[in-house]
Symmetry: D2
């Protein structure tokens, strides 16, 4: 198969403003993820950020992207509606989308889900165990019973999402909560995977299992067909209308 | 049980502008539907239109509505984003929503679905047979094998929606197409039913089976609980964080 | 509405053989559950056990049951295939089914699911927190953020089930696991709810929230329609076959 | 990727007993399908029938099969329960399954679905139009708006199945019915596709689009992971049980 063209988009705010974050991700979460993905075969990775032209999500870039990885948090409101509309349309057209961690609260994810996407959270450096509840799923390939993260931000239920088409991971937190951490949806021609781990103040994206899941998700979300929705159409009838009926 | 408070919203454009429509629905589709629903027990019905205060969908009205029935077509673009946001939030909070016919293309429905909601269509006065594919479903209660409509606008697949949680009806068209005509989704605390029949130039809403389905859908979509999503929250830990582990 | 006719079926083995169990449930889990349900309005409750005529699940009883509650563990293999077939057919016909705890491993549940229904387990008297992840769902009505059970048998993922149509509860366990504890499916005309809590050596069925969930599930699972599947049929054509086509 | 090992199983009854069938499929439907599949790259195809050792579905063969294609009709009752159990277990373990046409009524399919799998049917040589309702789905790859079959057996709704995870095709019939003709489910680690076309008295399996769909389905259903369900397990606790709680 041809290379999967992956674009990693990061708002790139925390890493420039918070020394605690820049110590972990000096070049930005996007570059850490890019380096990680490049260690897997079959991908062609580029990175882009909110500060780039067209907020880093130009039409040309999107058309040439097979799978978009999305990390945002502090600047969700700065992403313009027209930027969201471009990405949204491209997902429905077939581009895969991997939304990470606080991206659950992005305009883009909320628009694709149609729901609040709200959740509970706590920053307490607690242990997280991401259970693999669908061990035969391609996104869980190579992952054992669970991924253990020694320090995590807690995300807790209820998570305001439509019922996932496939549930791959559910997290256990030391402080007492659970969370649907790995969720798949199909929307239009596109595949969407939400993956919870990744708070900016922990080195989560250096965890080899977290990296493996993201690489698997890229493979899973790659476009499966060539369809573009062309909007409403007015076809001619295929059968004679007004035909006589039996007994009529 | 208490009465179900039903609000029927209609953009009310075709009936005022097109004599062919006003002959069938002289007081508007909303009043025809209201009269129909009032013949069923257990409902308290009011009507409202785009021309009313707050586009007929004020906060006060929505808070006092259990199930909203929505008919729109020519004026989708005139519905303001803030109006859509109010109704959308109320659906997620628990208000039931029954979207009829060309309402598939409304801002509201597209926002709830997160997809294109596109389809194909043809106005040729052809026969439609709405098959009951889920005969034990409460929305199909009292409906036989199918509803036959002698003259209908054709809606054809592909219909750009997320996979319905429950599929109740699929239509056969004389001209050769099929369509998922009765679809259920849960979003947040609300239940949504899309029902295809109802083009303005045919007397579809006088059909007793069509009326029965809409009345059943109102009953099905009534709020099931009292939850309001309160957005992100930051709870205290329920368990001691930092506890020693076995063998640790 | 008319009373919901509830039948509580229990294999009734542990309570007669194990003093530790009979101290908690001296008349059997079925009688404890029956007493609990009778405190809710709108139900007509009877109990039956494996030792009764037709293994407690006669054709006559099933036909007069709206919702069956099922508890089994030690005697799954003693339930005859013809008994399973009777109950299975009645569920598809529209009888509601609430499967409790170790009933996940019953022939009946496995037949309805079509999968292994396997899971992991541990008897260590650990704390369980049953999270309400769908707070607007009728089965969660009256339940707060979670149900806390001070001592529980652990059930852990992966749970070998088809993706639930609706996920209502997910459990957190003190020992480190998670589990999909409250799951809804529709099969044929029947509604099925699996609810995890209830090990025989703990007084779980005296917990008021556990009782409330079971009562809610009975209400949710009551038959919604009157359909009976009549098997394959050979209808006459509704349209003329061999009609000329446009341009043909 | 490695070759997909495809086994085509046919009861092989009609072709030996009915001259009208053997004229179309002189070597059996399985050999026609095998020849068709061999024209696609990436597959290693073998055929087997009910009359072979272990009813053509031995343990050794199944272990070495990635995707099983299943055609049966007249001899469903002759397939032994132990044969069904072997195939069923192998699907849950990860083998893909493509069930064709009257295979909907096989013990195997009913066991995987847990429902009646009943439908309506009519042999009247009528036109069928198999609509592609999910044009971006990999199983619809290369298929246009619909597949037209000039003469088909009619299958009509209601079809007694669990809601499909993904709906790919819905058929229109000249005689007035509709049918969910292409349905996907995941069960355990296996993927299942049901495809309606294929009555033995019509040359349906010579249609290039029907062949393309079956080849696509084989690719879609190939095993995605390496998991084997190992049944119930009793793990040690991962966290200390009995730890003190905050404020406790």
């Amino acid at each position: 198969m041809s290379l999967i063209r992956v674009t990693i988009w990061n708002e790139f705010v925390h890493e420039r403003e918070n020394p605690a974050v820049s110590r972990i991700y000096p070049l930005g979460i996007h570059e850490t993820l890019a380096a990680a993905l490049r260690s897997f075969p079959g991908v062609d990775v580029c990175t882009t950020t909110l500060g780039d032209t067209d907020q880093g999500l130009s039409h040309d870039l999107l058309v040439n992207t097979d799978v978009l990885i999305y990390w945002g948090h502090a600047a969700h409101d700065e992403v313009r509606d027209e930027t969201v509309a471009r990405v949204h349309a491209r997902v429905l057209e077939g581009m895969g989308l991997v939304v990470l961690h606080s991206g659950h609260w992005s305009k883009l994810f909320k628009r694709l889900m149609g729901t609040t996407c709200a959740l509970r959270y706590r920053e307490a450096g607690e242990r997280e165990r991401v259970w693999n509840i669908s061990p035969g799923h391609p996104i869980a390939d190579g992952i054992g019973d669970y991924i253990e993260l020694p320090e995590s931000e807690m995300y807790g239920e209820p998570f305001g999402i439509p019922t996932p088409d496939e549930q791959v991971f559910i997290s256990w937190f030391e402080g007492g909560e659970v969370f649907r951490s790995g969720c798949c949806w199909r929307r239009g021609n596109g595949r969407i995977f939400y993956f919870r781990p990744g708070h900016e103040i922990y080195p989560t994206y250096f965890d080899p299992n977290v990296r493996r899941v993201i690489a698997n998700a890229v493979e899973w979300a790659r476009p499966q067909g060539l369809w573009r929705d062309e909007g409403a159409k007015r076809p001619e009838a295929l059968e004679t209308i007004g035909a006589k009926r039996p007994g009529g």
